[in-house]
């Protein structure tokens, strides 16, 4: 009896050892993954809970990391929202010609992964006389503007009642006092619920580690905006907050050859954006969803 029992125990021990070894072997790819994960990063607090000193240390670390990876000096700032500033954006559909230079400028400015050609802006070619997105086409490939068409660039609308902010289970995305919806790349768990919730296809997920040739890297970076994102987190348009919070204009606006884009401070009565809102018949996309966008469209004629 005891012989059989012990043989059984030995067999079980052998089985358990074999199982453990097989498990370790199966999980081996994780050693590569864990190399990128430091204890400091793992324990890093939510953006809003970081002290100035902690943020300073994080920025030093990120710059050193960029230097090591790209061999270049990058400047990563954490610019706060300005007092008395609330951003708004408007786009003149009468003059947009659908050249997609805004999308390309976004791609460069925001250090998007090169192979996917990612951009926060999608331009839809629309049928004259229709606002039904179903008749739009984002993959047009012919000289523009085409006869009988108009063009509808869509990016994050920085909604005041943002569905993406509501659904995030860990508050990794929120609305800043100047109206910009941001993502803490170091807090996002990558569940992509926000991507499902957004009615404007404004969010992107880092399905892999973004790859950018060092010479193409934009060194002017913001912690909450265009620094090179980690794999496995969600990102989005931030109205180029690393530029706009420093008094500059968004990259997409500067790239527009027709002057279709108007950007500015909604609280400043003399700003061009206020002039547009007061003098043009503006509308927002999918108004019926109650998202209250800060991105407006209008026709000139």
């Amino acid at each position: 009896m005891s012989d059989i029992l012990s043989r059984r125990t030995v067999m079980k021990g052998a089985g358990a050892t074999l199982g453990a070894a097989a498990f370790a072997h199966a999980m081996a790819p994780l050693t590569e993954w864990s190399k990128d994960l430091t204890v400091d990063e793992f324990l890093q607090k939510h953006y809003k809970e970081l002290t100035r000193d902690e943020m300073a240390r994080i920025l030093v670390h990120l710059k050193a990391e960029a230097k090591q990876k790209y061999g270049r000096d990058v400047d990563i700032k954490d610019l706060p929202p300005q007092e008395g500033v609330s951003f708004g954006y408007a786009l003149n559909l009468s003059v947009c010609i659908g050249c997609r230079r805004c999308a390309e400028a976004c791609h460069q400015e925001n250090n998007h992964d090169r192979s996917t050609g990612n951009s926060y802006i999608r331009v839809l070619e629309m049928q004259q006389g229709s606002l039904d997105l179903e008749h739009g086409n984002a993959n047009y490939d012919h000289p523009v503007p085409a006869e009988g068409k108009y063009y509808l660039p869509v990016q994050c609308h920085q909604c005041d009642n943002a569905p993406c902010v509501k659904v995030c289970p860990v508050q990794a995305t929120w609305k800043e006092p100047d109206g910009i919806v941001v993502v803490d790349y170091n807090w996002c768990i990558g569940c992509r619920y926000c991507e499902a919730a957004c009615p404007y296809h404004a969010r992107r997920f880092n399905w892999t580690k973004p790859e950018i040739p060092p010479e193409e890297l934009n060194p002017d970076q913001g912690y909450l905006s265009n620094r090179v994102r980690p794999q496995g987190v969600v990102e989005k348009c931030t109205f180029c907050l690393h530029r706009t919070r420093a008094g500059r204009l968004p990259a997409c606006l500067e790239a527009c050859p027709t002057g279709a884009r108007v950007f500015g401070n909604l609280l400043d009565p003399k700003s061009p954006i206020r002039w547009v809102l007061e003098n043009k018949r503006v509308f927002v996309l999918k108004e019926e969803l109650g998202t209250r966008p800060r991105f407006f469209y209008f026709f000139d004629k």
Binding site: V167, C198, T208
Partner: protein, 413 residues
């Protein structure tokens, strides 16, 4: 016995059960080895996905949820459906069902384990799961429906672990379970089972930007189909247990569960029909996703074979459970169960999640096809769930039947 002794004795009891679960026949060892192998293949695929990124899946920014969330949704239904054994036993005092209710509760535990794993593998940063911990992380409750899901799923797991653990432990000690220690939890679990699946439906139906999901009928549909898959699985499971363990399970529970299925298969088809009527009769852009699902759109047809298979399976199952011959031939009943299970798996899985994303919110049509990595991980998780279920049932039965009891153990030592 004092409470502190239980604190030590209960873990020891669980340890004994687990140790005992490693004993078995060659059939048991073969079954567990096969499941382990599949689970390991899944674990390996997941490790690769974590290291190299979720680009290894077929998902994209257009279709940002896929096979994992489809299986998660189905799994929640299975967990909720298991409660269909509790309701007859405790609300309608069905005594035969009472004896096997525990098996339903064990199934719920295994199904929740599956659901939690499907969420983990869908996360870009699973190591940041601690951000969800209230107090330590930033739990966005009550605003985010996902936090409600975290609460109800883990709560359901704990409730069922408590009920099963308490009843088995008392049986082991040879004592009569005290009603106040389990009955409130049993009734809570009935309410809670409905809540887990409603909340999971609200995850989707609360999104105004996705017309395909934005329907008040989603939660009732989820509950109806849960009460197909739960009973269907248990009907087959009870026969397997009867065959391999000799536990005397009467025909009563099988009959009751079949009656439940007779109603729910029709209810599910009726609600699907209502959705289809609303979509197709109204027409317009809101119906695009449904058109894509059933007939394809703009030359894209990836889901069409899936959904028609599901419809065929569900209708066949509905006919089968109503045939008089099915009452006489258990083989026909088992076939109906298998067809219904597979039909709902498609309808509530791929058939529900993917059309939410096709067309996208900007009405672009980008299709989704799961990759081998996703299939491996999915198979691995289901294999793991079956292992949990097998072990749970295997250790629970000797305690239930009195073969394993504290008095015997004391006598042997």
């Amino acid at each position: 016995m004092t409470a502190t002794r239980h604190l030590l004795d209960y873990p020891r009891f669980l340890g004994r059960l687990l140790w005992m679960s490693t004993d078995g026949s060659w059939r048991f060892y073969t079954w567990m080895t096969v499941l382990t192998a599949i689970a390991l293949v899944g674990a390996n695929a997941w490790a690769h996905q974590l290291a190299e990124g979720m680009a290894l899946t077929g998902m994209s920014d257009h279709v940002s949820w896929g096979l994992y969330i489809a299986n998660f949704t189905f799994g929640v239904g299975l967990a909720a459906g298991a409660v269909m054994m509790v309701i007859p036993a405790y609300l309608y005092h069905d005594h035969e069902m009472h004896d096997v209710t525990l098996i339903g509760e064990l199934l719920a535990i295994a199904a929740i384990a599956i659901c939690l794993l499907f969420i983990v593998v869908d996360m870009g940063h699973p190591e940041r799961a601690w951000h969800l911990l209230p107090g330590i992380g930033r739990f966005n409750w009550p605003v985010s429906m996902l936090t409600w899901d975290v609460v109800v799923l883990n709560g359901y797991l704990l409730i069922n672990l408590h009920i099963c653990g308490y009843l088995l432990y008392m049986r082991f000690l040879g004592r009569k379970p005290r009603k106040q220690w389990y009955l409130p939890f049993v009734f809570l679990s009935i309410f809670w089972a409905i809540s887990i699946h409603s909340v999971t439906a609200f995850l989707y139906s609360g999104l105004g930007g996705r017309p395909f999901w934005n329907s008040a009928l989603l939660a009732p549909r989820f509950i109806a189909s849960a009460f197909i898959t739960g009973p269907a699985f248990v009907i087959v499971l009870l026969q397997v247990i009867r065959r391999f363990t000799g536990l005397p399970i009467g025909e009563g529970p099988l009959r009751t569960l079949t009656s439940v299925m007779r109603v729910t298969v029709l209810l599910n088809l009726f609600m699907l029909g209502s959705e289809l009527f609303t979509a197709f009769y109204t027409g317009g852009s809101h119906a695009t996703a449904v058109r894509y699902l059933f007939f394809g759109s703009h030359g894209h047809h990836a889901l069409v074979p899936w959904i028609w298979t599901a419809v065929a399976l569900n209708i066949t199952a509905a006919v089968l459970v109503h045939l008089p011959a099915t009452r006489r031939h258990v083989g026909l009943l088992n076939l109906a169960c298998a067809l219904a299970f597979a039909g709902v798996w498609i309808e509530k899985g791929m058939g529900l999640i993917i059309p939410g994303f096709v067309p996208s919110t900007l009405h672009e049509v980008v299709e989704y096809v799961p990759t081998l990595t996703e299939w491996k991980i999915t198979a691995g998780i289901w294999a793991f769930g079956l292992m949990v279920l097998t072990v749970a049932v295997k250790v629970a039965l000797p305690v239930l039947s009195g073969q394993l009891a504290a008095s015997h153990a004391a006598a042997r030592h």
